[in-house]
């Protein structure tokens, strides 16, 4: 049993302890958050692959491809093309938006600041359910094929700098009807091909829901799909940067 006076003193002591506990906990929590953000800041400064400026697009080649006869690979630039600037005189563009791109969200097409590479109309790649999302300097085009099979085309002109020799030492393929060297990789759930055209890095992924799907047993289907990626469209942002007039 406690006397009333002792009880009050003890209660006051507990109150003080409680107050300092709350203050301590708040300070501690704030400090934990501060630690997390300071670590994040520290990481940003830590060595990591360096992001490069947007690569210069070979707009002349892209315009030739957009306007040209869409024979596989016929109008594509040579692999040695190094991002030549647009012609001094504003080139004319007869058809900025090819048929496949005309069925995509115009808003997304217009936001895209690179040549929008899509399958050619009437080719082997189905395009009726195609959907596009643009990130400005990159885009992703989703192309559902037969049940359980999806192709995704991405274009990207913002890259990080690879170490010297890192890409050069990797194997590349010369494929029929494709002017550029292509890298083909097997994925856990499909196949992927990437190549550089107009200064832009394009990737075509093939995903199969079923591991035994004949389209994913080897890379033959993907190779044909890549060969069909010949249509080029230029949305408003791309046209502005290319300096073209319609």
């Amino acid at each position: 049993m406690f006397s009333g006076k002792f009880y009050l003193w003890r209660r006051a002591g507990m109150g003080a302890l409680l107050t300092s506990a709350v203050i301590g906990a708040v300070v501690g929590l704030a400090h934990a958050q501060e630690m997390a953000s300071s670590k994040a800041a520290q990481l940003k400064a830590a060595p990591s692959p360096r992001l490069q400026n947007a690569t210069q697009v070979d707009w002349s080649a892209a315009i030739r491809q957009a306007d040209g006869p869409h024979i596989q690979g016929a109008q594509a630039p040579s692999p040695q093309a190094r991002g030549v600037a647009a012609d001094k005189a504003a080139p004319r563009l007869r058809q900025a938006i090819r048929p496949v791109a005309s069925r995509l969200s115009r808003d997304q097409v217009n936001r895209t600041r690179l040549p929008l590479l899509t399958p050619r109309e009437g080719g082997m790649v189905r395009t009726e359910r195609a959907r596009l999302v643009s990130f400005g300097d990159a885009y992703s085009l989703n192309l559902p094929q037969d049940k359980g099979v999806v192709l995704t085309v991405t274009g990207n002109r913002r890259m990080v700098q690879a170490k010297r020799g890192e890409i050069a030492r990797k194997p590349r393929l010369k494929l029929a009807n494709i002017p550029e060297d292509v890298q083909i990789t097997r994925l856990e759930d499909g196949w992927s091909a990437s190549f550089r055209r107009f200064g832009v890095l394009y990737t075509v992924d093939l995903l199969c829901d079923d591991a035994q799907d004949v389209k994913c047993l080897d890379d033959a289907y993907l190779r044909k799909a890549v060969a069909d990626m010949t249509d080029v469209s230029l949305g408003e942002e791309a046209q502005k940067e290319a300096g073209v007039a319609q």
């Binding site: 301590g24 997390a36 300071s38």
Partner: protein
């Protein structure tokens, strides 16, 4: 200066809770039990962390340079003997990302060269305690037949496997590593393309299809729930195929190289996620990356 303040807070709370047992005056039972459970949870995490930390890690936790919780781990690129060739480029390829699992702890290790994996037929239980324990172990470039030029052998595993908090299927959430857009959805694959350059692509494999909270081209925020970690591996010949319960996490980054003659080469390559994941995990343990529903 700051750490003692933090420790002061923790110690004071501990003292208070210890003293609360014999409080002679009426208490709010609800708040007491809430405090108790917080204390228990915090204490068990500390105990677990203390029991698994090495001496050097414990001592480094008192350093003001690396204040984040240390996580027992093997070095990046170092694979257990016989499991693969490893790799040399251990840079952080995705600084600042959100750890892709909502709950901690989580365990980075192989699904093949551990109990329950095909290389360990003597112990068929994927739920063996050693699978759900530190240290973290890298398994990017683990032996596979797939081309992966980053690997010393030129072939290997293209991601990092993460086991969730416990060996329970369809329970633990995978979350978005960065703000971005869902750009691929397969039967057991979800890909997220980050909004910001270089537009990294994060691929999440083996999610439970029925639990997915995202659709194609949905925008997601860093930390947002995507789907639950499962053993789903799609189908083969029309029949369901299963793996162990884990998240296979991949990072793809667009890279370029200019040769001495001015020719530019580019590739969209799988990069080792381990360093980025370890850092994200440490930040997660310190309170970074709250889960977004």
């Amino acid at each position: 200066m700051k750490i003692p303040r933090f420790l002061f807070g923790v110690l004071t709370v501990s003292l208070l809770l210890t003293g609360c047992d014999d409080l002679p005056f009426p208490t709010d039972k609800g708040s007491e039990s809430a405090s108790s459970s917080a204390s228990t949870s915090s204490a068990s995490e500390s105990a677990s962390s203390a029991s698994t930390s090495s001496a050097s890690e414990s001592s480094s936790s008192s350093s003001s340079v690396t204040p984040l919780p240390e996580v027992p781990h093997q070095a990046a690129g170092l694979l257990p003997a016989g499991s693969g060739s490893g790799y040399d480029d251990t840079r952080n390829w995705a600084p600042g990302i959100c750890f892709p699992l909502a709950d901690t702890p989580a365990y980075a290790n192989s699904q093949v060269y551990r109990p329950g994996g095909s290389a360990v037929p003597s112990n068929p239980s994927q739920c063996a305690p050693e699978n759900y324990a530190y240290p973290w172990i890298d398994n990017f470039c683990e032996s596979r037949s797939w081309v992966n030029p980053v690997c010393n052998s030129g072939k290997g595993h293209q991601g990092q496997d993460l086991r969730p908090k416990a060996c329970t299927n369809n329970t633990y959430w995978a979350v978005a590593a960065e703000d971005g857009v869902i750009t691929q959805m397969g039967s057991y694959t979800v890909a997220l393309t980050a909004d910001a350059p270089p537009y990294r692509v994060y691929r999440y494999l083996h999610l439970q299809n029925a639990s997915l909270k995202v659709g194609l081209h949905d925008r997601v925020k860093r930390g947002q729930k995507i789907g639950k970690v499962s053993n789903n591996m799609g189908t083969s010949g029309g029949k369901p195929v299963y793996t162990t319960i884990h998240l296979h996490f991949e990072i793809r980054v667009s890279q370029s190289e200019t040769l001495s003659d001015g020719t530019m080469l580019a590739e969209n390559a799988f990069v080792p996620p381990y360093t980025a994941l370890l850092d994200a995990y440490q930040r997660k343990l310190a309170g970074d990356c709250p889960v977004v529903e």
